[in-house]
Structures are given as C-alpha cells and as structure tokens.
C-alpha cells in the first residue's frame, strides 16, 4: 500500500511551511514510527529517544530519514522535541489525524480523555510504498490495552533492515 496523501502544516523558525507526503517519501527510504501523544508517557520518550540515538545506524542501513508521527499539532510536537533534546528524528504533527486515519490506525482513547490518536506502530516506506509494517498488537477504540511496545522499537526495525 502507498502512504495516504497528506499535507502537513508545520511551524519552523517562526514560519508556516507545508510539507506533503511527496516531499517526505518520494525517491527515499524512510522509517516512520507513531506514538499516542507528545508529553504523554515515559514510553513515548523512550520510543523516540531509541530512534534518535540509533539514527546513524539507520543511515548506515540505507535509511534517509526518521520521522515520528503523532496526532498532535506542530507547536506541541516542537515543544516536546525541544524538551527531550531530539536531534535527528523529525516531527510529523498530524493534528487533523488525516495521515493516521489513512493508515488505518486512528483509534479512540476515551479512558485518557485524548480523543482520536494514533495506535503505536513503525514502518519502512520505500518511495511512498509501505514495505514493512510493525503494528503493536491489540489495536482497539476503548483504551482497552496497556499500551504495548513490543515490535515498533528501533531494534526490531534495525534487525529487519540488516536481515534484508
């Protein structure tokens, strides 16, 4: 499947910029991973920090960029990246949930009062085609889970890339 077309509105260096899925994925090998929210849990901090620290390993494995997607707006994503000191991973603020819905992973999180968010997953995208998807088990709309983090971490993705 192809990644769903999305035009992301981002605020960088005091300016609004639009970046769409063509800009991000065309002619590139990209790894995307999704979290359920900026500032939301130590698990999300861990998830992104793992990828951030492994950036050069991903580069060596032929990956052009790493993106972290979440159903949060660009301001919240930037503030969270700053707080954690993320240097390599790039933020994809999907505030409208368009990308996440198109990926089929937009879930309701009623117990946290979050509204609609992304289920946790990671994927390798090759020139806009999803080549490999690691989705956490138990996707649901009722907050009926303990936020599993088994397959979408950086280690699993690196192992996959190295095995190819």
């Amino acid at each position: 499947m192809r990644v769903p077309y999305t035009n992301f509105k981002t605020f960088e260096k005091d300016e609004w910029t639009e970046i769409d899925t063509e800009d991000i994925f065309s002619e590139k090998k990209i790894v995307v991973f999704a979290i359920d929210g900026a500032f939301t849990s130590g698990l999300n901090d861990k998830h992104i920090q793992e990828y951030d620290n492994a950036y050069h390993n991903f580069k060596t494995a032929g990956i052009d960029e790493l993106y972290c997607v979440s159903v949060n707006d660009t301001f919240v994503m930037n503030a969270w990246f700053n707080k954690l000191g993320i240097k390599n991973v790039k933020p994809l603020g999907d505030g409208e949930g368009v990308f996440t819905q198109g990926m089929g992973v937009l879930v309701n999180k009623p117990k946290q009062g979050f509204g609609m968010r992304s289920w946790r997953y990671s994927m390798l995208v090759n020139n806009g085609e999803v080549e490999k998807l690691f989705e956490e088990p138990g996707k649901n709309n009722a907050s009926d889970d303990h936020d599993p983090f088994e397959v979408s971490g950086s280690n699993t993705m690196i192992k996959y890339l190295e095995s190819k």
């Binding site: 509105k9 609004w16 130590g42 707006d73 503030a79 707080k83 409208e96 949930g97 009062g113 979050f114």
Partner: protein
C-alpha cells in the same frame, strides 16, 4: 449570548503527580483522576477562558500570562478560581503550564473535545493542521450557570480568521468584575 445557560456535564481525565523529573528515565509517577464539571464549577463563581491550543503563539505570549498576572486581583473581585480550557490532553496542558511557569491559573484538559462541543465552541482548525479545537471565548460561571459571556468575532470552521484576540482579555474581565463589584457595594 449564552447568559443563564447551564454548563454541560462532562468528566475530564486529569493527570496529577507527573511533575517529578525522571531525568530521561521511563518511570512516571503520576496517576489518572476524574474531574467533573461539578468539581470545577458547582457552588463557585469562576472565570473560564479558552484558547485554540497549548504552546501556540498568541495565547502563549498574551492571554494565559495575562490572567496569571492578574490572578490575585481577579480573585479579590469575588472570583474563586480561574480556569484555562483547551482541546489538548492533560499531559500537554501540564507541560505547557510548567513551561509557562503558571502557579495560579488551573488547567482544564478537554482532549476529547466533549466539553467544548457541548459549549458550541468546537470548530475546525484544519488550515493549521490542528483538527477540531476551541474557538476563543471567556466566561464568568456562577454555580454551573453562565453569568457573562465574551467570544471573539468571526467564529468559523474554515480558518477564515487571523485568530482574533480582542474580547477575551483579562482587561475586559477586570472591567466587568469591577463594575459588578462597585454596583453590588451600593447600599440598598
């Protein structure tokens, strides 16, 4: 326009106790609690103001710090509490309050948008990639009932505005409360 309306009954999911820094560690010490609109509004006279999002420019630079600065002055005018509501989750609201060094104004996280929807203020901000958010308003709520209402002009779903910030200011609130207070002090 919304005077005498009853506040909708909504339960908010609120995080408490996450403030302890774990220095990059995974452990988070906080917990979830439920807060209802009755907890916030019943038996009290309070100020509530809303904004389109935590960490966004206008509200970060003016509105929230403005109310924070005037907190004690406003409380002396017969107000029990000042609340800031936004369609953001509790983690983001807490992080923003901490980032802005807010000590007094209390945050109401309406991540699901249920409160804002029932208030008739849930609008699309898709031109900013935000999804559904709150139009900017402020209100005095007296025992779950709206006493006074201000909202910014030009409410819309298409982003055909430049986020006006004219009505829902601490200055307008103080002017209203002062007049009310003075009026109440006139004997007889």
């Amino acid at each position: 326009m919304k005077r005498d309306l009853k506040i909708p009954k909504v339960t908010f999911r609120v995080r408490i106790g996450d403030e302890v820094e774990t220095d990059g560690g995974c452990a988070i010490g906080g917990q979830w609690i439920n807060k209802t609109t009755d907890d916030f509004f019943k038996g009290k006279r309070v100020v509530l103001f809303s904004l389109p999002g935590a960490f966004t420019p206008t509200c970060s630079s003016q509105q929230l710090p403005g109310f924070e600065k005037e907190y004690h002055a406003i409380k002396k005018m017969g107000i029990d509490e000042i609340y800031c509501v936004s369609v953001n989750d509790s983690f983001v609201m807490n992080a923003w309050a901490s980032h802005m060094k807010i000590q007094n104004v209390k945050m109401i996280p309406d991540g699901s948008g249920n409160f804002t929807r029932f208030m008739g203020m849930l609008i699309g901000k898709n031109h900013l990639g935000f999804g559904l958010r709150s139009w900017r308003y402020m209100t005095v709520i007296n025992d779950n009932t709206i006493e006074k209402w201000w909202q910014e002009p030009g409410i819309n779903n298409e982003g055909t505005d430049d986020d006006p910030y004219i009505e829902s200011t601490p200055e307008n609130m103080i002017r209203y409360l002062q007049n009310k207070t003075n009026f109440a002090e006139i004997p007889g």
